[in-house]
Assembly symmetry: C2
Homo-oligomer: 233 residues x 2
DNA sequence: CGGTTCGTTGAGGCCCATCAATCTATGTGG
DNA sequence: CCACATAGATTGATGGGCCTCAACGAACCG
């Protein structure tokens, strides 16, 4: 999760409240839209996503979930899910019962603040996705997404970056609001222009500076480090 | 704001922490992207929006702010804004200093929970916007937005609905990721089909059922009423 | 070795963008 | 009270980015 707001005691309490991890194979639903969920699913390893669909089956991902992300933070306060949560790779998932989470949040301000923090970061990311979906071309969207994933995976800021990218082109299409065919053609463009080197589930960004410029990417919105003056508790 | 989580005492404390309302004319920035904001701006009356822009000036609204909404909830925990906040009509704005808000949240679990709730609702709405932006046609997007605004403005569920819509077609375009010209043509289509009656800043939805079906709108995601089992504090 | 998943390529078409002009309503100053 | 300016709505013509449909290739696996 995100522990910068937590005291040692709070961190221990959270860890004690968590159920043992489960390993889940790729492509399985942790929860479906409209279901009740009485636990939070936390991705400990692997990739997952939130997805929502129109009535006729068009699919859009409102979030890609990387290790440390909570799959269904909404379930903390909502009784029904607005989206589905699905693994994209084999993943190990940790479960935090909602009751325990609520009780801890009520007794420990740091834990409550952590949940708010998590929700706000999700919001910031989704806001940038909306900008991409509404106003950026396919090439720009792809560039922006790759830059975001690179940073969220912990890669250094401006250096050449290389990471595992277990997403299929269809997953990427569902994140970017495009068709798989067009994602394919767009990736070829970036490849031709020397902005990405990809294949075999690996992605390398040889020229992060140019890719960021193309995608209009500025990492500030990810709020990787909490601001100093709120770390007090 | 949203007071279902609050005790009487907490509500009074919040009201006491709030600075006097200001009336602000249409089209003025309450805050700009990248700025520090040491207060939360709460819309008490009128309309406002969050907006973000690409480097070359394309604009996308990640949120429309109606009375009761918080313009910049992020400022509770982030030191810099990821978006701008701007009034769309003359609006009266109420201000809550961030320090006060944080202190209250630390001492009163109900207030902390309210902030989390607000963030999660924003997230739910934005998630649906992403689905629209990524996967729905112009007509569907417009239908969905109008249905959402109708409900958020307090109109009854399935009845014919009529409300003030002070947005220009350009505002709508920026919310939907379209051009003003295309919003105009799309509105004409809906008008011809008898799904909307509009003009002079008013909007009437004579056939909400059909409009919802067209836009794929299901109001559940707005979480208008908090679930019963979380109202305890 | 056959099946399945994923990536790639091609041809054709539509939705929406772009550019530009006109129309209407509102407001303002002389 | 009219001349004028401005903001917003409307309409037309044209083009392009991305979709759709379809087929094929490549990698992996039981």
């Amino acid at each position: 999760m995100q522990s910068a707001f937590l005291s040692k005691e709070e961190r221990q309490l959270l860890e004690a409240a968590i159920l043992p991890p489960r390993v889940i194979r790729a492509g399985t639903d942790l929860a479906r839209e409209g279901e009740r969920a009485d636990s939070l699913f936390i991705v400990a390893d692997g990739w997952a996503c939130r997805y929502s669909t129109t009535s006729d089956g068009r699919r859009q991902l409102p979030a890609l979930l990387l290790p440390g992300d909570v799959g269904n933070l909404d379930s903390l306060l909502f009784d029904r899910l607005d989206y589905g949560v699905r693994t994209l790779t084999e993943a190990t998932i940790v479960t935090l019962p909602r009751d325990r989470a609520l009780a801890l949040a009520a007794q420990h301000p740091g834990i409550a603040r952590m949940f708010t923090w998590l929700a706000l970061v999700e919001n910031a990311i989704l806001g940038k996705w909306a900008l991409s979906l509404g106003r950026r071309s396919a090439k720009e969207r792809l560039a922006h997404l790759l830059c975001e994933l690179s940073v969220r995976l912990g890669n250094d800021d401006e250096a050449e970056s290389s990471f595992d990218l277990p997403l299929t082109q269809e997953h990427i299409a569902d994140a970017l609001g495009l068709t798989p065919v067009h994602v394919n053609r767009t990736m070829q463009q970036l490849r031709t222009e020397g902005l990405i080197v990809s294949g075999n589930r690996k992605m390398t960004l040889p020229d992060v500076v140019s890719l960021r410029k193309l995608g209009g990417f500025d990492p500030g919105y990810l709020h990787i480090a909490p601001p100093a003056d709120t770390q007090l508790c």
